[in-house]
Subunit: 394 residues, 2 copies
Amino acid sequence: MTVISIPADSLFGVDNLPYGVFSTADAGPRVGVRVGDSVVDLAKALGDDTFAQPTLNAFMAQGRDRWVEVRAQITALVAGEIADDAVFAVDDVTMHLPIAVADYVDFYASENHATNLGRLFRPDSAALMPNWKHLPVGYHGRSSTVVVSGTDIVRPCGQRKAPADAAPSFGPSIRLDIEAEMGFIVGVGSPMGSSITPDQFAEHCFGAVILNDWSARDIQAWEYVPLGPNLGKSFATSISAWVVPLLALEAARIDTPVQDPTPLPYLQGDEKWGLDIDLEVEWNGDVVSRPPYAQMYWSPAQMLAHTTVNGAAASTGDLFGSGTISGPDKAQRGAFIELTWGGAEPVEVAGEQRTFIQDGDEISISATAPGADGGRIGFGEVRARILPATGDAR
Amino acid sequence: MTVISIPADSLFGVDNLPYGVFSTADAGPRVGVRVGDSVVDLAKALGDDTFAQPTLNAFMAQGRDRWVEVRAQITALVAGEIADDAVFAVDDVTMHLPIAVADYVDFYASENHATNLGRLFRPDSAALMPNWKHLPVGYHGRSSTVVVSGTDIVRPCGQRKAPADAAPSFGPSIRLDIEAEMGFIVGVGSPMGSSITPDQFAEHCFGAVILNDWSARDIQAWEYVPLGPNLGKSFATSISAWVVPLLALEAARIDTPVQDPTPLPYLQGDEKWGLDIDLEVEWNGDVVSRPPYAQMYWSPAQMLAHTTVNGAAASTGDLFGSGTISGPDKAQRGAFIELTWGGAEPVEVAGEQRTFIQDGDEISISATAPGADGGRIGFGEVRARILPATGDAR
């Protein structure tokens, strides 16, 4: 039997207990929980086949009472001894995409980001569109290209036309960028014809991950009118491997910034669902930005309420991204297009002047939040290396 | 044993053989093929468990050689006698959504439609955006709200703001509309990092359906800048129950209209994938429009090539819509917002003057194409009734 020892400064104490899907040399993907630097095989440790599956979906679909119950079981479990064959060192396991993604929606909920992007993409218009403070603007993305942290990202090819070009051309994106976001995962859906109110958020949302919404700005800028981003985003979206349960985020809950004008009643609630999460963006090992989730204008509860208010179904495994997280300061901007102001103001990365992502670059976004008793909990990281484009020149 | 008799004027002769998923009083959803006014239970008739499933996905994933082989098997089968318990009258079965929808993308491939919508949504700008003739513009939609013909559609509620309104309001959509489209279904996907050329279309696309992209124009007009349609579309998309195999559309293949400027090489191919399909839109039993698919600017082969050219994965069950089909004549417009010019020019429907859809209305879109030997084949129909909004007033 094993007693798990949790380092004093661990971001994965018993106030966190994030879920993931892992495999080992001798057994395929199944659900585990992270405790300190260990991963506990839940099917083995709890004797419950719900966890002997390659995604969290079956467990997520069981609902909040069950999420509370299992969290209590795990808390009791890690306070005692666990069978040796149910415990692995986190460095000895391979992590997999933790969920089967149903619908994926990406929002645009940071006022600073929306303002910056508006200035960069539409210099002759008002930075913020008239609808922005009335509803959480979002669009559907490609579910099949959501990948787990650690997956290499191949530079996409596509069609682009800079304003000075006479005609569009095809080739590898030359303005490849990140968007540092948080992602939220629906555990319990809602049928077509119904909707989820902001105060019902905790009954439906299972947990949160870090999300990197890779963006090819040259492709996006040319394609996005009038129906929104498509190829500039659809090649890949990365999420962190550990899903932090909403139940672990109680100490992180705060008010959103003041929403003025007051949103319509369907976007109002009594529960606080602003979240005090601090992100950190590393580019080739240098921290280049510290985006503050606390300043996001729209809460994830408002995003889910908006998504379903027209009667659209929500499903177990739905994923929605917050949109790029940018604070008011330059060093808080969550996309390189903002950080370098469209490439005009390079930043120093490991001794070099950089604007957009080069082949071989490695990007890692990490996040932490307040935990119990004044400590902190971690979301781990979403990390990827950029590989050269493989498409032919066409 | 039964010999299936096919009426002489049937749109479901042996040159069609569309697949669907049906259930009967005594057995749940499984795959069938339509022949005349009969449905043949393929698991029973062919003794193949691939068809004893509630979606076509497993069969579609087997690839084109297998699609050809099964089509030949069915052709031989219906020429002879079939076991009585494998044949049902089409009126005695219930049809279900034929596929498990993976990613859903909707295009915008009719020049007449894009021009009309541009004039209506952006009267002060050029009707066609600068990118429109260079790439098939499209966006991702909501997979979980794709429903089969016959499913009632509940009028969506949402946020909208007419230009003259001081502030947005919430309530049932008052500009509920259709979009008459064709939908294309991916049978064999492509992994992340690869792409599908236009000339590889027939290896990947399994077949086609009629698609109604329900659209709440008031919600859409307020929300769609800058990231595209979301709630104005995500409440429901209807498809016809019978998937016409691409193999049945050989006689329908034509050139697209001349594409000027010449598209970039990745959108070029030697194969013709324009399709000579005639649609008909019925509103409460009156034919109000006859959209001609033959005039669509971009072919479905170009749409799939564009979708994957950035390395985005394609999956079995991916569905993509053509976008509204509108011809140059008023009586060929595939959306009511065009047909009534934003509601300014009502049309007569069953003796009443109408603009947008009213509660209780029934909309049916049917389609036919050239078949073998100068005959025609049918896609059946996509039909739905509109129910009143159920959301509270909030």
